[in-house]
Amino acid sequence: MANPVIRVLSILDPSTPHTFIQPTKKIHESQDVSTFLTSKAYTDIMTWILQLNRSMFPLKVADDNIQTWTLNSDSIQFSAPVRQLQRLLSKLEDIIQEVPPDTGPRRFGNISFRRWCEVVESRASDLLEECLPADLLHRGSSGEGATAETELKSYFLGSWGSGQRLDNGTGHELSFLAFLGGIWKLNGFPKADPGVEERAIVVGVIHPYLELIRLLIKTYNLEPAGSHGVWGLDDHSFAPYIFGSAQFSPAINDTDLTPEEGSLPNAPDPSGVAKANIVERERQTNLYFSAIGFIYDVKRGPFWEHSPMLFDISGIRAGWGKINKGMIKMYNAEVLSKFPVVQHFPFGSLFSWDRDPNAPLPSSTVHTTSGPQARPVVPDSGPPSVAASRPVPGAGTQAPWAKSGAGTRAVPPMGSAAAPWAGARREGIPSSVPSGATRAPSILPETSRMPPGPMAPTRAPWSAQPQPSPSQDGDADVHTKAPWAK
């Protein structure tokens, strides 16, 4: 039996009529990120990620044994929907054969990726029809407007990369997670014990998805989207670091809360990421190391130099549980709270722009101060927020010389690490409660006081109308994009 406080993404009641909506972008201004962080969509995304994350923790089984979840584990059974999604991914991989990379002398990104995206788009409906149940896709078709397929397709098409800019990043990964979360909400996965389907999704769908993305990146030389250069976690992905660190965390049972430190007894030391032989061994079975292995595949140079963030994390002594916790905090701050990443996320009925009634009222102070033209002010009123109270180096020293974009790091990137569940903790919930899973309605995350992410205010104040872009991410690496460009 699952602990009732461990929340999962709720499934739409099939007996209740549901109105689907063509998903559209809602995040036009940096201030809109604050609104997003109090939306139903945000709550659902975090709930979904934490649900998947929990499923990857090793499980305590009878006689003090521990069941781990490796990528090649025989203990993970793939349900029919999971196998269908694997088919879908392999069909997309086949399209690469149809669209070989252009051999002409061009820039880094290969123009043929644009063609690959076009082919996928032209076949998207057929592919979804082929690989997802008709009754799921056609829900809502009695009405005149959008169907479930309309919404799923939107996230499906956003999952691969920008054909325009030939890049790929965490925004695309987020779109794929939403695609899977949408299927979950539509009851597309069979009922099973807690965690069973979730880990089949992580190992059986998300891992192959990441492998496909890596193949796309290598085949078409896709550029990293939204890169901070060497100072970002990874050029393209984030999810494997979350789920992979969960794989190495201490075991739990069905009702345990996810531990915040310690490691599975036989887990490799985190410092193994800097050792090629260990990476080679672990990447076969672990998502974290599979992502590290890809970095080894594509980058040359000392690991600590091209991946200093990952190198730092490899020095953590408190175990993979600590790393997992930090990864979720970081995902929340560096992906979900970043305007350039989430600005392209479309909102429909499955992931709704509507305000989560359990979320606190957005604070107007933060709204105005996170804008690009405003002087950055670290919020200091109201209950102490984690970010505001922590000693941020340099915070508060920036405004005087800051022009339009200079305030973007009023709170440096590390400063925006306030966890969405920070409020819950303060209200006395046990410290090891997994965040989204534990939120009682009255103690939802203090998202309104989340500091603006470093990139949130980078939009030019005078560019009122965002230009449509098929991309999910704000910035590509190899050719600098203006951060105020849409």
């Binding site: 000693p391 022009k403 910035d475 050719h479 203006a482 105020w484």
Partner: protein, 436 residues
């Protein structure tokens, strides 16, 4: 040994200088840069470099291949910072060299020398990480605002002296002159192109012949030295400042980070910009730092969201109107390190090998030799050249001889030991007492 020399020595060893020294350095640099015009005049011989992006060890390789400061006269076309691990070490070293040898190194501004861009692409993160506060980032950004927007290279020779180590390439071709030469990092010539020697300056570049000697000519005894590397600067008579009296048949070379702007039809217009500010999101100053040449006609929208795309017709017209033979720019990765476009009217120079540790590209620098045939040059100045816009003689200007030195990423064993490992804040408990 002066403090400055000590700082240079320390930075060459890839060790940072204290914050107080950075502050002083940036102050001195600003005092120096404020005296430079928007378009700095630089005399050939000069070595033109493109993006560096914090690739410090590769910058050291660049100096090894191109010669050291002050022996070689350098012009860096911006994008010193962001993306790489060593933006601070790279930029501070270049700045020290600028303060120490102001006439032997020219730094112009790239689109990454901006507050807003550096907060997105890594330099800000690096400053916080390495100095623990944003102070150094602030000092550097204040220097960025004073960097020149472009440079004009005068007095470049139309003909290269063949690199002496290559018996084959020095084989005389009747009535032809060496126009371009490509050397690898060992100083071996890998490609040469010749053009017909023109005593008059009419239509000189139409009859060029490409001759590619076999690659990797051996028997290069030691490092090949660039013939003109140690030439004294500013030789020859000074010009009269009207542009029309520049007697060298080689047109001037405009160097900017990005490219042209639809708002700029003459070099003079660049001089009218009030440059001492953050890079604006639009307008002439923005375009110079953000635009890209492209195979189009006229102007096009840039996928970067800033600046424009411009075609070969725009380059031809701009060069003609301004008596230029070449626009040298950086800003775009090119796998071969350099790329000439539009009949040699513009060249992209890229100096960050294996960009972002993964692009697999080589890097290049461009050497322009000094015209010793008696052509007039002006002493380094704030760019009086080209003041008389529109008065252009009918004779076609000849492009300068161009020597590209191509090099690869520095070997790993040239790099230091791992930096210390402060754990990223997301993974710390101490900052989140309420969570622990």
């Amino acid at each position: 040994m002066s403090d400055l020399d000590r700082a240079i020595e320390q930075l060459r060893a890839c060790r940072l200088i204290p914050e107080s020294q950075v502050r002083e350095l940036c102050y001195k640099a600003r005092e120096l840069l404020i005296e430079e015009g928007n378009v700095v005049s630089v005399d050939a011989p000069v070595t033109i470099c493109g993006d560096i992006h914090g690739q410090f060890h590769d910058l050291m390789e660049l100096f090894r291949v191109g010669g050291d400061v002050p022996d070689t006269n350098y012009l860096f076309m911006g994008d010193f910072v962001d993306r790489g691990f060593y933006s601070l070490e790279s930029f501070l070293l270049l700045l020290c060299l600028k303060v120490r040898y102001p006439d032997r190194i020219t730094l112009i501004r790239g689109n990454h020398e901006s507050r807003q861009i550096t907060t997105v692409y890594g330099f800000y993160d690096e400053c916080i990480r390495k100095y623990g506060s944003a102070n150094v980032w602030r000092y550097c950004c204040e220097v960025f605002d004073y960097l020149a927007l472009g440079a004009i290279v005068l007095g470049a020779s139309s003909e290269l002296e063949p690199t002496s180590t290559t018996a084959l390439s020095s084989m005389p071709i009747d009535d032809s002159e060496l126009e371009t030469e490509v050397l690898n990092s060992r100083g071996e010539v890998t490609m040469s192109t010749y053009r017909a020697r023109q005593r008059s300056s009419s239509d000189a570049s139409t009859d060029s012949r490409n001759i590619s000697p076999p690659r990797d000519i051996s028997a290069a005894p030691g490092q090949a030295a660039a013939p003109s590397r140690s030439g004294a600067p500013g030789t020859g008579a000074s010009g009269d400042g009207n542009g029309s009296a520049v007697t060298s048949r080689t047109g001037a070379v405009l160097c900017v980070h990005g490219g042209l702007s639809p708002l700029i039809d003459s070099v003079d217009k660049i001089r009218l910009i009030d440059r001492k500010q953050e890079v604006p999101h639009e307008g002439a100053m923005c375009d110079l730092l953000w635009s890209d040449p492209d195979e189009i006609e006229g102007w096009g929208l840039s996928p970067r969201g800033a600046g424009f795309l411009f075609g070969g017709d725009i380059v031809k017209q701009f060069n003609h109107l301004n008596g230029l033979s070449l626009v040298a720019r950086a800003h775009q990765l090119v796998m071969e390190g350099y790329k000439e476009m539009f009949d040699g009217g513009i060249v992209t120079v890229w100096s960050a090998p294996n960009y972002c540790y993964r692009c697999g590209n080589v890097a290049a620098i461009l050497e322009l030799g000094e015209d010793t045939s008696g052509g007039g040059t002006v002493a380094r100045s704030n760019g009086e050249y080209g003041r008389s816009n529109g008065i252009v003689s009918n004779s076609r200007v000849v492009s300068p001889g161009r020597r590209y030195r191509v090099f690869e990423a520095a070997a790993q064993d040239t790099r230091g030991m791992p930096a210390k490992k402060p754990v990223a804040d997301y993974f710390l408990v101490s900052f989140f007492p309420l969570l622990s």
